[in-house]
């Protein structure tokens, strides 16, 4: 579903991502871990079509992000680490806006908004302006907005930050359910326990370079993901 082929992205002299290649298949939850400034967000933004890359190619469902960005964006959703949403819209207004952009039918959006807003306990708040939402509520709204067009690929940057335990649990359940139905999820996290329990595969990145990748069992072996991560990045 997502194929990252040898991408490099530099900011001036510094290479934020250096020759990175990954392959995320349909049905996989793929964790992406690394220290602060390792290049996780840059990679996710490049996949989402926000940042161009200096070298390499990214394919979503076999389509090049560089050559056909709009076709790729139709198939995916991106949730940033700090979702700044339109504060001048209401929650339902924002979800409708996103659904219009993604050309979701009235019936589908109605059903999905109801389902996910109920799941995340946000239904009662949908009539209120986003400016009145807490960080966690904005995060929930961003997740619902990402799911409203039933994407084939979801890119999430630190999706658990700011969520209460119940919402975090709902996110994990939703992620698993989506992937069981054929969606692929590529997400970055610093919560290694979550990654260990949730991910089918994991990649560890350091200074923009991939240092370890594979199934959870392949990467961590008999130890914990935390031990492996610390031994690799130190």
């Amino acid at each position: 579903m997502l194929r990252i082929e040898n991408i490099t992205k530099a900011y001036g002299e510094k290479k934020a991502v250096d020759g990175l290649s990954l392959h995320i298949r349909a049905g996989e939850i793929y964790g992406f871990i690394g220290h602060n400034g390792a290049g996780k967000t840059t990679t996710l933004k490049a996949c989402a079509g926000i940042l161009g890359v200096d070298e390499g190619e990214i394919f979503v469902d076999g389509i090049s992000v560089r050559e056909q960005p709009i076709e790729c964006k139709k198939r995916m959703a991106y949730i940033p680490d700090n979702p700044d949403l339109y504060s001048f819209m209401t929650g339902i207004g924002y979800l409708n806006f996103v659904a219009d952009i993604y050309k979701v039918t009235a019936e589908d959006r109605q059903a999905r908004i109801k389902k996910y807003a109920d799941d995340f306990g946000l239904t009662a708040e949908l009539a209120n302006p986003v400016s009145a939402y807490s960080h966690g509520m904005k995060q929930k709204l961003a997740i619902i907005a990402a799911l409203v067009h039933a994407p084939k690929l979801i890119l999430m940057d630190e999706p658990f930050v700011g969520l209460d335990p119940k919402a975090a649990h709902t996110v994990k359940e939703t992620m698993r359910a989506l992937c069981d139905s054929g969606c692929a999820i590529f997400f970055s996290t610093h919560v290694l326990e979550v990654a260990e329990k949730l991910c089918d595969k994991v990649a560890i990145i350091k200074d923009g370079k991939l240092i370890k990748e594979g199934t959870m069992a392949e990467v961590k072996g008999d130890t914990s993901l935390e031990d492996i991560f610390l031994s690799l990045v130190e």
Binding site: I50, F88, A132
Partner: protein, 527 residues
């Protein structure tokens, strides 16, 4: 601590002018020079306006021995302008900065935060006071000859007067902030306050000429009526060299500032952390309608403008002026009729068209529309929508917001003038073409000079070099219309001239439009 806060305040104010928000690097010297020239031009033009006003007032009053009345009148003008401008800024600058929580979490006293922000506002007020007062001082010493003591006292008055304006403006800003937090219709309140100020300002300035003419003719009577107002007498006599008056004036204005500062310090924390009075509404599921991507994007632009009063009041000033102009046209229909009688209906229609174009070019909606995306820009960058569609919606909203009221205004004026139908059509077409050109130019400039990292949306509009350049660019283009008619008016009929203007501006619009749709798209993708 205060020094660091002041430095932050200063950088926040000037960074958009001299630094690129995108790269964090200094702008090119050419852009910097251009902006500096434009700023100097704007300041110089205003100062010249007040200088000519001073010229008409000074000699008659000074020759009648009413030096203090001259300075009292100038003082009223300076104080009013600084107060109005300061009040409009104070709520946003004192209480609604995005870094409130950041600063309050630091070991910084709220009093220091407030003082730093008030000093920033004082600088603005001082600028407005100086624009009025310095030309008046120069004219005074031209008439009377230079004298050290009155000169020193005049400068002290110039420095102290903004303190009073600041005190009153800050108090009003606090009141608006408090009401905004307590009332549900906070946007409505902001609009209401602004319109009241605006109407008051227009009323005062419209009466100013009348009052000044009367003052020149009846200096002694004016002196008698003002002498009972001690503050004005102190300001006037202080500038004329009276030490005791200066002392009273400094004590009064300094004291007023200190008192307001003391009151605001006590309430600052409560005001910035006040819960808003917005009513929580429970969502009731309704049948959802589907809309096109273009319509949704357009609606988003509309919401962003009307839900943020400061955005509409600053970027959409032309639309507000249009509404006021409509009322003025209806109220002063006789004036238009006499204009028509004096220069002829066709010529009067061209004048109406040029005025409408000037008003239309005062809108800088597109010139701040990219900056206003701010931290939300990721939403559109990751959406499966052509960037050109995003730009088209921005241009379309600029056009609708501007052309709608200006067209109504132009049609009313043409109806009052009795403009022939075809000429009236060309008036409207010319206004539309100028509006489109300004929309395209504004978007181009904002794409070249975006500021996505603002702490208050007012900064994205007010302190934006692109908005400033778009405003002056639009006005300069409209000024060409006047010159063009002087040159061509004798050879072609009014409708012919206006058709040529329409064609020219439509062509001119195509230049920024093509640039935006090609180069602009690439810039947007890298923001």
């Amino acid at each position: 601590m205060l020094k660091a806060l002041l430095k932050k305040q200063f950088l926040e104010t000037v960074s958009a002018l001299f630094t690129s928000a995108k790269t964090g690097k200094k702008r090119s010297p050419i852009v910097g020079l251009l902006l500096a020239v434009l700023l100097l031009y704007a300041i110089g033009a205003q100062a010249y306006l007040f200088f000519t006003l001073s010229q008409s007032l000074c000699a008659p009053l000074v020759s009648a021995g009413l030096d203090w009345v001259y300075f009292a009148l100038v003082g009223i003008l300076a104080f009013t302008i600084a107060c109005v401008m300061g009040a409009l800024l104070s709520k946003a600058k004192l209480y609604e900065a995005k870094d409130n929580e950041l600063l309050l979490a630091m070991p910084v006293k709220p009093s220091a935060i407030l003082l730093a922000r008030m000093i920033g506002l004082y600088a603005f007020d001082l600028l407005f006071v100086a624009l009025v007062f310095l030309p008046a001082i120069i004219e005074y010493f031209i008439v009377t000859g230079f004298s050290v003591l009155p000169f020193a006292f005049c400068l002290i008055t110039t420095l102290i007067l903004p303190l009073g304006a600041l005190a009153l403006g800050a108090l009003l800003g606090w009141l608006i902030a408090w009401l905004s937090a307590k009332l549900r219709a906070k946007n409505l309140l902001t609009y209401l306050v602004f319109i009241l100020f605006f109407v008051g300002y227009f009323y005062l300035t419209s009466k100013m000429n009348e009052a000044l003419s009367w003052a020149m003719a009846n200096g002694n009577a004016m002196g008698e009526s003002l002498s009972g107002v001690f503050v004005l007498r102190w300001i006037g006599e202080a500038c004329a060299g009276d030490t005791l008056s200066l002392l009273f004036f400094v004590l009064l204005f300094g004291g007023a500032f200190a008192l307001v500062y003391f009151v605001l310090v006590k309430t600052f924390l409560a005001t910035v952390t006040m819960q808003t009075g917005e009513r929580k509404r429970a969502y009731k599921e309704r049948k959802i309608k589907r809309g096109s991507a273009f319509f949704s994007l357009f609606k988003k632009e509309v919401l962003r403008t009307v839900k943020g009063p400061m955005v509409l009041l600053n970027a959409g000033m032309g639309s507000i002026l249009s509404v006021i102009a409509c009322v003025l046209v209806l109220v002063n229909a006789d004036l238009l009729s006499s204009l028509s009688n004096a220069v002829g209906t066709e010529e009067a229609s061209v004048i109406v068209c040029i005025v409408a174009c000037f008003i239309a070019s005062s809108n800088v909606v597109t010139a701040s529309s990219v900056s206003l995306e701010g931290e939300n820009i990721w939403i559109l960058q990751t959406a499966p929508v052509d960037t050109r569609t995003v730009f088209l919606t921005k241009i379309a909203w600029h056009f609708v917001l501007t052309a709608l009221p200006t067209t109504v205004c132009a049609i009313i004026a043409c109806a009052v003038l009795g403009t022939p139908f075809f000429t009236a059509v060309t008036v409207v077409l010319a206004v539309w073409a100028v509006t489109l050109f300004c929309a395209g130019l504004g978007l181009l400039l904002n794409l070249k000079m975006p500021n996505l990292h603002w702490t208050n949306e007012t900064a994205a509009v007010k302190q934006s070099p692109s908005a400033l350049l778009a405003l002056f660019g639009g006005w300069a283009s409209c000024a060409l219309l006047i010159g063009g008619y002087f040159w061509l008016g004798a050879y072609i009929p009014a409708w012919g001239y206006l058709l040529a203007v329409t064609a020219l501006f439509a062509l001119a619009f195509s230049l920024p439009f093509v640039w935006v749709m090609k180069r602009g798209v690439k810039i947007w993708e890298t923001l």
